[in-house]
């Protein structure tokens, strides 16, 4: 970092400034350097550079969040004075079985989607790392394509796939099974929603995983090969430990995003059948759609509690799978 207090420009100016202004300025600067702790002076430029973002985050994230917590103690109305109700809405949300059911649906969906994506991405990234440059470029583009498809479009495509006469029923028909009402049967609806979630998510995960694999020094693999390690041993003892931080990132971001999945169940099932795909965000969204002041305050409080739940899950994961510096660092 640049310590601005030691820059020589002040002396140069003094030489051509007979008025003494620079001396006064230097005097002020000297006073400043005495007043401000050294570690703050050292990082001043950094603080200045992050100030705009901190201000914007403060305005658009921190303040709304604080204000939302404040509002959650009131039953809000846009036509009457808000009524202070204390923790009533927290009690309502926390005693509502549907809130817990929705959390469970979110967790189940995350458990179906995230590990599948991680395994597929690891396998595919390991495979891509072995390809020639041209082939790898083609494959990387192919793998990434689903990531640029709108999830609404993907949801509609998969609704067609799951129709009575759709591809899914045609496929299981080849084995003498079905047809199944994929999206209208409690046991199949959530896995049916998980499939497009995996399809949409695994492209980005693969590329991140590939970047991680390419960062692992080739000498590790060469040594392992010389020692006679096969693919699975190399993956188990070199690739996965080296990708620890990448996997941690994908795990946390994947879990938090999947628990909050909203568009796919909204378009494909609207949370049904019998709330089998009613993810927390969809549950909150549907609570908000009611016209009453109760619904507004309830959904706000449910959203805050979801924020706490997801924050806690992330914290637990960080504790369990602690990140560490790369072995090369």
């Amino acid at each position: 970092m640049i310590d601005t207090s030691t820059q020589p420009t002040g002396q140069a100016t003094e030489a051509i400034d007979p008025s003494g202004t620079s001396r006064r300025r230097r005097g002020r600067r000297a006073k400043f350097t005495e007043e401000v702790p050294r570690h703050l002076r050292a990082h001043l430029t950094a603080y200045l550079m992050i100030t705009p973002m901190v201000v914007l985050l403060g305005i658009f994230v921190v303040w709304p969040l604080v204000y939302a917590f404040y509002l959650s103690f009131f039953e809000m109305s846009f036509y009457k004075d808000a009524e202070f109700v204390g923790f009533d809405f927290y009690k309502y949300v926390l005693t509502d079985p549907e809130f817990y059911e929705s959390l469970l649906v979110g967790l189940k969906l995350a458990l179906m989607v995230v590990p599948t994506i991680l395994v597929l991405a690891l396998l595919l990234a390991s495979f891509l790392a072995t390809l020639s440059k041209r082939m790898a470029a083609f494959m990387k583009t192919t793998v990434y394509v689903p990531a640029v498809v709108s999830s609404v479009v993907a949801a509609i495509i998969f609704v067609f796939i799951y129709q009575d006469e759709g591809f899914a029923n045609w496929f299981i028909g080849l084995f003498g099974q079905g047809p199944l009402a994929w999206l209208n049967t409690a046991s199949t609806a959530l896995p049916a929603v998980a499939v497009p979630a995996i399809w949409l998510g695994f492209g980005v995960s693969t590329l991140i995983m590939l970047a991680g694999i390419l960062d692992i020094p080739e000498s590790y693999f060469e040594s392992a090969r010389l020692d006679g390690a096969n693919f699975w041993q190399r993956t188990r003892y070199i690739t996965i430990p080296s990708l620890r931080n990448v996997i941690l990132f994908l795990l946390v971001s994947g879990l938090t995003l999947t628990i909050q999945e909203f568009q796919l169940p909204l378009v494909m099932t609207n949370g049904g059948p019998v709330n089998a795909t009613n993810t927390p965000n969809l549950y909150i969204f549907n609570s908000f759609r009611d016209a009453t002041p109760y619904a507004t305050s309830y959904s706000l409080t449910a959203a805050l509690l979801l924020f706490i739940v997801i924050g806690t899950i992330s914290l637990v994961i960080f504790r369990v799978v602690s990140s560490e510096k790369s072995s090369d660092a």
């Binding site: 846009f78 009457k80 005693t95 009402a181 209208n184 019998v274 908000f288 109760y294």
Partner: protein, 447 residues
């Protein structure tokens, strides 16, 4: 350095002010004036309905704006699935519409929230006396009017394909009268890829489309009349649950419906032989599937025991309300008077456009339509008016959460997720919770 710091602080403050200005731009009071001496400008939000309705509204908003210089209506169509979010955002920002479409069921809750302006002093007495007696109560709370009604439409009517019925050896002139007979028809009409019938099978649709059948089964809804406790475990509901369960589990209705209950497309496309749907489906069939009309007959939806005097449908419908915070309530009322309460020819034109799939709420409009041969000769209108609307009940005014709890119980039983006692117990608990948390006890509208 201090100056530099001050400059940075000032820059941050300016950035914050710009951001805040961005947030607050557009906020203000509802309604605006076109300047001193100009017309009062009011906003009108219409929930999106069938395309012909948007055309009708647009035509008459333009005519109203052209007919006078005191009021200018800014008309906006809002899709139904984003209505609440958009309205709440506007209410929070103070930019809510002066006039909005509101369904009958939403009026009591809106009045309790102080959302609607009282209209008694804003519309002339003759406008109120023109409303049919069975509808007048739908727009009143505590003896005061808070909305002007536009139409009623029964939620549940039975449509059936006369050609398929004949082919199945059934008599198209003797439609089913009981739920058991309907199940028999559904079984006989299920052939190949054509299902016997279509009816709501997901909770959000069942929530409102089954109100009439809930009345039919038990004579009441799953809550006490004074909204003091749930009444969902009444054994008289058992047959209602079994009726839906049989239709779904026997595969006589589509197992994965592609559209919601109000959409007549599966029937129009020949995927089902019968359809439970609202009267509005007549309009959709006439306009989108005209070839299906000659082979279609309508009948009141069957009753649990064949008694035709029991209700099988609720009378839903739409009104126009004026926002309590509107700065131009008189101007808003003037627009409503022109559109809904004035020249009967305007509303008569609406019902003509609808293919007579919706029903009038004003005596003078009935009289205007009585002179119209297209209305009097309509094959569906007489059956629905005499046999469905006549026994229809008003939509319940309690929060939809209660309807959804009971509908979730029906769906659970249909799809085999729980048995009837477990499902009704869960619904009962959920309804009691809603009553307690939303403080509903004793708040049921009187009469």
């Amino acid at each position: 350095m201090r100056q530099r710091r001050l400059r940075i602080v000032a820059a941050a403050a300016v950035a914050a002010l710009i951001a805040l200005a961005g947030c607050s731009s557009n906020s203000g009071t509802s309604g605006s004036s076109g300047g001193s001496g100009g017309p009062a400008e009011i906003t009108f939000w219409q929930s999106q309905f069938e395309p012909y309705q948007q055309k009708w509204f647009k035509t008459y908003v333009d005519k109203f704006n052209a007919s006078q210089t005191d009021v200018k209506v800014k008309y906006q169509v809002v899709p139904g699935d984003t209505w609440q979010q958009k309205l709440k955002a506007a209410q929070a920002a103070g930019t809510q519409p002066d006039v909005a479409t509101t369904n009958y069921g939403g009026i009591p809750a809106g009045v309790a929230n102080g959302q609607f302006a009282e209209l008694d002093g804003l519309l002339p007495d003759k406008a109120w006396s023109d409303i049919k007696s069975n509808v007048g109560g739908f727009v009143q709370v505590g003896g005061k009017h808070y909305a002007y009604p536009m139409l009623v439409e029964p939620s549940t009517v039975l449509y059936y394909r006369t050609d398929l019925v004949k082919a199945a050896g059934l008599d198209p002139n003797a439609p089913p009268k009981t739920w058991d007979e309907l199940l028999t028809w559904a079984e006989k009409l299920t052939k190949g890829k054509v299902k016997g019938m279509t009816i709501a099978s997901v909770a959000p649709d069942l929530g409102w489309s089954s109100w009439g059948l809930q009345y039919n089964a038990c004579g009441h809804l799953p809550i006490n009349d004074d909204w003091s406790a749930a009444n969902a475990k009444d054994p008289c509901y058992t047959k209602l649950f079994e009726f839906y369960q049989t239709l779904f589990q026997k595969g006589w209705i589509p197992q994965q419906p592609k559209v919601g209950y109000p959409d007549a497309t599966p029937y129009g496309q020949g995927q089902v032989a019968m359809m439970a749907n609202g009267s509005w489906a007549v309009g959709q069939l006439k306009q989108t599937f005209p070839a299906m009309i000659k082979n279609t007959a309508v009948a009141p939806f069957p009753s649990i025991d064949g008694d035709p005097s029991k209700p099988t449908a609720t009378l839903g419908g739409w009104t126009l309300t004026v926002d309590a915070k509107s700065k131009h309530k008189e101007a808003a009322a003037k627009f409503i008077e022109y559109l809904l309460a004035g020249d009967p020819a305007i509303m008569a034109d609406f019902f003509r456009q609808s293919g007579f799939s919706k029903y009038t709420v004003r005596t003078s409009v009935d009289q205007a339509l009585a002179k119209d041969p297209a209305a009097t000769s309509d094959p569906f209108m007489k059956v629905i008016t005499d046999k469905v609307v006549a026994t229809g009940k008003a939509e319940p005014a309690y929060p939809f959460d209660i309807s959804l709890a009971f509908a979730t119980a029906i769906e659970s039983v249909m799809k085999g997720k729980s048995d009837i006692p477990a499902a009704t117990q869960k619904a009962s608990d959920a309804i009691d919770r809603v009553i307690k948390q939303q403080r509903l006890k004793g708040t049921a509208p009187k009469g």
